[in-house]
Symmetry: D2
């Protein structure tokens, strides 16, 4: 049993972290911070937790020591406050973008100048499926971005297998409104946000850098990423259009995916012959840590469409972070992450 | 550890039963039947369970003995097949309407002539909050209807306290599309069903009889129930407009609700001063066994509006049934039902 | 051809007014004001009007004279600025709550002290179906509230016919998010607002006063109104639970409704034997000025459920105002209001 | 004033055709056929038209002569019945896929063997923006497919300008549930269809052939099309990822789009600096004949993302057909198509 705290616990990522950790068999949640809600029950921000815990928010200035500190702060905050945070815990898992990229120039292009470039490179990228060994040995982890996660999980097997043009891939991601965070704004106003098919980031999405960084481990890689907002709250789904360097049969693609993901506890290969859920759909995944992956092969061209779906707040954030904790601590990787999801919902 | 089977496991109620039972610490799921899907993995009907279980559907004719049999068949089926079912298990929990009403005349009014009126009265009504003692002693339980459940939980404390006009209550229930079951039809076609505020049963809803039967234990009771379909998949929410026989202050109503529900593990009293979730909303409850109950007192009249919300497939069906099983077996009433729900979702 | 202007044209009511007036055969839109958007194209606030008009917002201080002035200001503004507004036009139609109620005490109870009680009584209530003659003779009109409109249209025939208990009626209204206006807030944030069944005003809704004022013309009347927010953008639907003083057959109710509404251009009686739209549903009415009215008679009690549905922004606001203008000007009442609505949508 | 009839008037395309034609100033609707609903009011299938017309469905065997016949039959029907249909009217506009493709081999690949290959080539493709001159001279028109329409309108200017790689384009289309037609099925069941991000046709979509046929007029063209179903009823939106053969600045792209579409009555160029609707979104377009087109240029690569949005039932079907009729008849191209759309909705 270890004692963990959550810094920045009033947002959606912090809330999911708290929900998962409250059900985790080896963890006791020590403190959850929120400056504006200090002293209030955590259910004030997370009404699903009414009756589930007597915890109240702590002022971040009163954050004490713990065994492992999760941070779910706005981008830039954790890096700026690093000297205060570092002494609080031996282990640290960050959910922001502050420590995901090792290259300060690439970080700067997407997020502005990094306040503490000296810290870059000290964190293991938190996506277990592409970084398990490093996470196992790490004390500091940076959980990946949601759209990066779903894109990487769609693409990694093909790039690693060396069967695709490494610079032609188009990744078209559809996302829910929870990606925008808990702060209301003009675009999130229900009459405006309901029923949209809104090109949210047609070009220049910041998660591109993470995807390219991971895929480039096996050779230079380029992805052309776009993100469109659709009328769901949770969920991120990627259609990754990749172009094969040589013809592959369906069974070849299956082979690549199975050998890559067969042993992964949270990747499910989904491609049935028929049915409404024959391919991955985030609708099935709300609350779960699964990434479902499937594909279709274009019979008339060299295109392969790989489809991946996640819950952006779980596998795309808090669940990924807990999975990383489990690995780091040497626990069953699935601990606390057993929720199978609801159907229909 | 007991062995349970599910008869009629391909529908939405059966699916939720299966999801909950797979996570139940004291239960092993033995068989799940479906005639049309016999031999297929249960995930064919319940894609959320992919990877969660190797179970396959059994033909109902191959159903063997078990310790406890759940039936989630269409109305009328369990009663008709009773002589075949009775020998299969000592304990039996039915999710249909077959055994909820004790009075054959009232049953006939809503569901047609009962095929086995001799069986009426042998089943304990399964809603723990109003029938816990009988359930504890029972071997046969009939889980209540979803709209009846949410209405009863809103109304029972006030009727029992004797503070309301017993024949003037109007209960206006809003429900999601999963109440209609898994079979597609003209009204459930997405272009037609999406965005509706559709008076589904403005009068004559069959669950009225259950509500009146329970409330009448403390004196003749009448409720005027209407059900409207709205654009959610899960959820049933009741606005129960009751009229007070004498003026009550807010704290009086709180007192009545607290003394009635204070010890209930699955009823939460919700009435905050502000916030988007200051009153019960089924949006928070998908997948959970909670019934949230709150109220507002009309300062200008003798009306009290009690609001209750549930997940129709859980507290309104499968979860209620599992709660009843836990009571019947003498287990922790919360076993298998700990999921707190998601936010936002 | 008359020249009309819209004061307060950047909100949802103002936008619908503009859309309708741009298609009106006898009207030229002269000015549309918005302080914050002065100088910008009207499509900045109303993107549906891109390409439909070259109009730009005017600063309200630059509002000139016109033949008829519509005001769609926040509650209280028009009354406070009345001395400036009155000279601008001979005719005036207000969409706020400022001039709907004649009794200053009742106004004060719901909206606070009226800044200009001397003006009360000078405006004709704008709902044509209950006030056509007064509107015809008026120069000043106050369009009714959306929830009041749908409730009144459900109830007026029965109260006028004298067949119901005048103090027992419960009106349970379900509404869309556009009722909350164009300003984002915590409760309108999409992750929070999506999928709700949220008791928005279980008691004390301000529109109650309008409903009771209109119904009381034929004798003291009381309604018990509640409003619940559901997951649509447009639409208000009322289930009006009324209790009959003597038994009525279906054909009697039909008779009452037909004789009351048979000649109304914007009330449609809807009660078919089957089909997904056998009873009124606001889903069909987005963009239209129709109020659909239907009913079901409870065979087991003295309850009659009258169902009415409107588009809250059209019949419940801007369309009602244009209909009033048409009457006031002696034009075809349907001018500019012909849009039949979309299906499916 | 000409007399038109609609063959196959009970589906969604037929319903929109009817709605538009009832408001068309130069057209009288003579007959609307439906075999299963013959004799019934058209509002039985199209409840939005209640009160708008006294028309009843005619049995298709009773279809008489008219000036112009619209056919909205299932794919294959019009071709098979051609010898019966041809004598009924001098002018004919078909909404199915039967006559869109001139090449029988390509038709066969997507739709099976054409029953009457001799008819191919006799119909003008109905998308005015790419075929206006041919439509003007035609008596027979085949309206384009919805996903083809939105894709072509996104891509045609760039392919015609010769600035893109003609075989690398990926078109990722998101569509509403009305694309699936009026027939309920497993996948359209609300609990299943609600909230999806479902890869509907990741590869092999039949509309690909239309897109390539049109784009190939200026040189061989290839598009990689995928269609994903999202939670809206109406709407199709394309993200067309094209790759430039030489660098272009934003103003160059604007120049290409403006010179191509500047005079088009139903194409609006939309690319504002900010705001929730700065890029095309079908949410704004329900009921309208507009195609909104915008773009973003990737600063870090040679990718240009062109975004187009339509109402699949209007610009993508019935509205396109009426626009073609207007051209064919020499009328104002906008006649009957003035509805600007609703906001918010």
């Amino acid at each position: 049993m270890i004692r963990v705290s959550i810094l920045g616990g009033s947002g959606y990522g912090g809330g999911e972290l708290l929900r998962i950790l409250l059900g985790h068999p080896a963890v006791e949640v020590s403190q959850v911070t929120s400056r504006s809600l200090a002293g209030k029950p955590v259910s004030r921000a997370h009404p699903n937790l009414r009756g589930a815990t007597p915890l109240r928010f702590t002022d971040p200035d009163d954050l004490g020591q713990c065994d492992l500190l999760f941070a779910a702060l706005p981008h830039g905050e954790a890096a700026r406050r690093w000297d205060d945070l570092a002494p609080l815990a031996e282990r640290f898992i960050d959910l922001s973008a502050d420590f995901r990229l090792d290259d300060p120039a690439i970080h700067a292009r997407h997020y502005g100048e990094h306040p503490r470039p000296d810290l870059l490179g000290r964190f293991a990228y938190g996506l277990a499926e592409v970084n398990r060994d490093a996470i196992r040995d790490a004390t500091h982890v940076a959980a990946g971005g949601c759209n990066a996660t779903v894109s990487i999980l769609a693409l990694a097997p093909l790039y690693e297998a060396g069967v695709v043009h490494r610079d032609r891939t188009v990744v078209d991601v559809k996302v829910g409104s929870s990606e925008g965070g808990a702060q209301p704004n003009e675009g999130s106003h229900h009459p405006i946000r309901s029923g949209v098919v809104r090109p949210y980031k047609a070009v220049g999405h910041r998660h591109t850098a993470e995807v390219e960084a991971v895929l480039s481990r096996t050779g230079d890689a380029r992805v052309h990423l776009s993100v469109t907002a659709v009328d769901v709250v949770r969920g991120a789904a990627a259609l990754a259009h990749v172009f094969l360097t040589e013809p592959l049969a369906e069974k070849d693609v299956w082979g690549i995916l199975r050998s890559r993901y067969g042993a992964e506890p949270f990747v499910r290969l989904v491609a049935e012959r028929s049915g409404a859920f024959k391919l991955p759909d985030p609708k099935l995944l709300a609350g779960t840590n699964y990434c479902d992956v499937g594909f279709e092969l274009d019979p008339l061209s060299d295109r392969l469409v790989v489809i991946a779906a996640i819950d952006n707040l779980v596998k795309g954030s808090a669940g990924q972070a807990v999975q990383a904790m489990n690995i780091m601590m040497g626990w069953d990787e699935r601990a606390g992450l057993a929720f199978p999801g609801l159907h229909p919902v």
